[in-house]
Assembly symmetry: C2
Homo-oligomer: 252 residues x 2
């Protein structure tokens, strides 16, 4: 068995060797101000997308909900606007949502993931893309992880969007809790993955805007599959304990 | 994207349909008394194995450390016995450890996992086996998940040990913290996976014996791969935050 500590020790040495001594390491808790950025949510009319849009709007973020149909997006936005703190969400078709946002959260079903991103490559160029898709299958024994050819939904996004800054985050949230206006705090950390520090810092900061949440850096996209498919385990937790389970990382 | 809640709702209905109304569901927090059981730790001379053996002994459990060499196992046990609360650990070769224990934790390196279990099939028959092996690779970018042919280390164990009660747990522990006698509490939940409720309940109860830990049921063995490989992400967390990260499940 490989232990995190031993691995960490050797990995940390490798890290120190590659970083010049003159350049002090950045404080990982120091994150940028993202309050002025517009957040788009592709698939924003589904439960998770709606929930995230609501929480981000409640936190003061400008939010655009995207859908194939601009009309359905508008209806969903109008419904959220009636909830306390839900003003500031507007709706648009997916292409407009992508084009008009600084950060674009991908919250579509796995089945439509590849086609949608292929179609939006141009609108998503230069944007921070946050993939939160969990490729899962279901049978009578419950949920199980699907195995995307690219390794994970996030790596598929990175392959299809070479001009975007692809990250992965927001996988383990309860859509029920996100959408419930009676719930003030969402008690969970958000694991943020990506290749580029500036982009993951921005996504961590965005997660931290939502009351109760914290964005924690958790590695490169090649380690996204297990984060995405851990949702299958949380579903088992939810069944056994009748809960809406979230995750906290200790010692951070 | 599939949300845990929707999936949970439908899965929960399926569950209720299959369970007769006359049989009330067991309280998932009600766990058996395991204080009288002897715990063996195969690979007990490695950092994780030693750490687990120490913590379990400290909790009052009878513990046998297993190693290929009975002498090395004896030396490691003698070293642990000198730590506060470390008495009650003894050493033996792996086969004796398996034969004399009620619960056997498999804490060997992934490379030797299959061969060891094949050799111990007879001694492990009828026992509760707890696989805590994380099959990982390392390169200059850090850690990444290996893909065992059986799906996961735990599923390999289940395939090689058809006469044992195979579970998976204790994947995300810091060997440094486990072995540090100055640390009183280990601040983490332990995800426990398996096919058989009685076995996973026992392993959850065992995890709960260690100060600070809690055993949480987290699904079937087919969902073990992501739990095992999440260690790659925790290694990234540890590097970024200079931490010994653990996991907590919220709302449970």
């Amino acid at each position: 068995m490989t232990t995190p500590d031993r691995a960490n020790d050797s990995a940390a040495s490798a890290d120190s060797a590659s970083a010049p001594a003159a350049k002090p390491r950045k404080d990982p808790h120091e994150l940028p101000d993202v309050s002025g950025l517009t957040v788009g949510v592709l698939g924003g009319t589904g439960p998770q997308g709606r929930g995230l849009a609501y929480r981000l709007a409640k936190a003061g973020q400008a939010v655009v909900i995207g859908s194939r149909s601009a009309e359905r997006a508008g209806t969903a936005a109008a419904e959220l606007a009636e909830l306390p703190g839900g003003a500031g969400v507007r709706g648009a078709d997916n292409a407009t949502t992508a084009a008009e946002s600084d950060i674009v959260i991908v919250a579509v079903p796995w089945e439509g993931h590849g086609d949608l991103l292929t179609a939006l490559r141009e609108q998503l160029a230069g944007k921070i893309v946050v993939d939160c898709v969990n490729p899962l299958g279901f049978d009578k024994k419950g949920a199980y992880a699907l195995k995307p050819a690219e390794g994970s939904a996030a790596e598929q996004a990175a392959a299809l969007l070479p001009d975007s800054r692809v990250t992965a985050a927001f996988h383990h949230l309860s859509a029920v809790l996100l959408q419930d206006p009676e719930i003030e705090k969402i008690d969970t950390d958000v694991l943020v993955l990506g290749e580029e520090r500036e982009a993951t810092d921005i996504v961590q900061a965005l997660a931290g805007r939502i009351d109760g949440m914290r964005g924690v850096f958790a590695g490169r996209l090649r380690n996204a599959h297990q984060v995405e498919s851990l949702v299958a385990n949380l579903i088992s937790v939810n069944r056994r304990y009748k809960a809406h389970a979230g995750l906290r990382i200790t010692d951070v």
